[in-house]
Amino acid sequence: MSAIRQRTVSRGVVVCAVIASAVLLLPILGLLWRVPWAGLLQQLSTEDSKKALVLSLETSVVSAILAVLLGVPLAWVLARGNQRVAKLLRPWVTSPLVLPPTVAGLALLVLMGRNGILGRSLYQLTGWSMPFTTIAVVVAGLFVGMPFVVLVVEAAFRQLPLEIEEAATTDGADASDIFWRIALPQSRNAVITGATLAWARALGEFGATLTFAGSLPGVTRTLPMQVYVALESDLPNAYALSAVLIAISLTVLYLLRSSLLSVWSSR
């Protein structure tokens, strides 16, 4: 098996792969080279760094959980519901994937801002508005992250052989049995992959968060924003925070490699 694999990689392909790896690896290695490892803990224990780290982890995890809770049912509807509706709906619900983040933030502001289409009534009724709150950070992460869940999980749902569902129906399973006991367990890896991608996107989000939520330490200033602020005042701090972001990303990708691989190979 491995002998065959070795032989199918030709020299030209290897050259391209080396260039590809260099493009992806060198900037990251360069950044790690600059990280002040000796004073790393000290850099990370400044008050603003700690606040940004905790806030980013909390909000991105909540965004990812919500993305799964809401995105998986949507994926099921797109895969098995009325296909004419699904065809119309699909480009819209996945569009945040390709929207520039600042546009995403602006869209959220237009809807939920204090002068927004929904936000205005909310503010007049309750005196509360979403921008400048931690909830706004979560919503921004959900908006840009959930499309990953929808995209990946719907693809998995579509691969499920219809015969199994037909057989289950014959044996007396109803629609909810099919979703909960067949579709969902069968697509477990896709859900994990979608959640991971949604989480990673939420963790790295900058433009949408800044436009919609603002930037206040401990409330809305996430790690990427703290890095941006530190760029102008404290470069070693920016490098140290970047190292943390890289470490978190690599750890998660490594832990989830089996799920990620199996989703791609089941295609």
Partner: protein, 260 residues
């Protein structure tokens, strides 16, 4: 399999030949039309607070200097300082603070202070007309307000002014530059914001409450050449510091008297 490849190749070659021919045809006369001073670009990095006035000045400079193009880039002075330090290809840098100019480092030449600006409390002109002082407005519990991050010149000036004025409330957000502070104020997401006097001059729908202690609210603008700037860059700076430039900056609300 071979046939389509040959066909595609033939089409590509034919298209290439056409494009080449077109290019040559149009290139020949245009060379004769262009004035002797061949196309020349001066890249300018400037604080976003100068956007309106500098854009107009650049246009009139281009009008009187055929073949010269002034490429303007507006943003946070502290971001530009970092970029210049890292070799960004600018020839002129106009900074909204002395600190940002200093941070731009050894590549800066012939740096001089040329005007100043003040941070003020800006609010919609129709609202809170009864409130007279900055501290009164910002300390009011009904008011939400924002300012620039401490690292940006507008934030540094705001910090000083707020402290002297005795403001005890805290901002809802510390935005990366004055543009994004202004955007949220104009969108109505906040009741008030610390921006520059020049921003209020540029927006009729806003009115300002100046800080009583104006010295603490003042930031000094500096301009200089970046290493490698040529004579046209020098000429452009001289134009900005000359009567035309001074008139435009003054009309925009800048103070031409530089505090020592």
């Amino acid at each position: 399999m071979k046939k389509p490849v040959a066909l595609v190749l033939a089409i590509v070659l034919a298209l290439g030949a056409i494009v080449f021919a077109q290019h040559n045809k149009s290139a020949t006369p245009s060379v004769q039309v262009t004035l002797p001073a061949s196309d020349h670009t001066v890249t300018v990095f400037a604080a976003s607070s100068m956007t309106g006035s500098l854009t107009e000045l650049a246009k009139s400079f281009e009008a009187s200097h055929a073949g010269v193009h002034i490429e303007l880039s507006f943003g946070s002075s502290s971001t530009f300082a970092q970029q210049i330090n890292n070799g960004a290809p600018a020839q002129v840098f106009a900074s909204a603070s002395v600190k940002a100019m200093t941070d731009a480092g050894a590549r800066m030449k012939n740096v001089q202070s040329f005007m100043s600006n003040q941070v003020v409390v800006a609010k919609p002109s129709t609202k809170y007309v009864e409130i007279k002082t900055a501290a009164q407005l910002l300390n009011d519990p009904r008011i939400t307000w924002i300012q620039c991050a401490h690292e940006a010149p507008c934030g540094a000036a705001a910090d000083k002014a707020l402290k002297v004025a005795g403001v005890t409330s805290t901002p809802k957000s510390l935005e990366p530059d004055v543009k994004s502070v202004l955007a949220k104020l104009l969108a109505g997401e906040v009741d008030a914001a610390i921006v520059y006097h020049t921003d209020v001059v540029a927006h009729q729908e806003l009115s300002e409450i100046a800080f009583a202690d104006s010295a603490s609210a003042t930031t000094v603008y500096q301009i200089g050449e970046v290493d490698g700037a040529d004579s046209i860059a020098t000429e452009f700076i001289a134009y900005l510091l000359g009567p035309d430039g001074q008139a435009a900056f003054s009309a925009a609300g800048f103070n031409l008297v530089v505090p020592q």
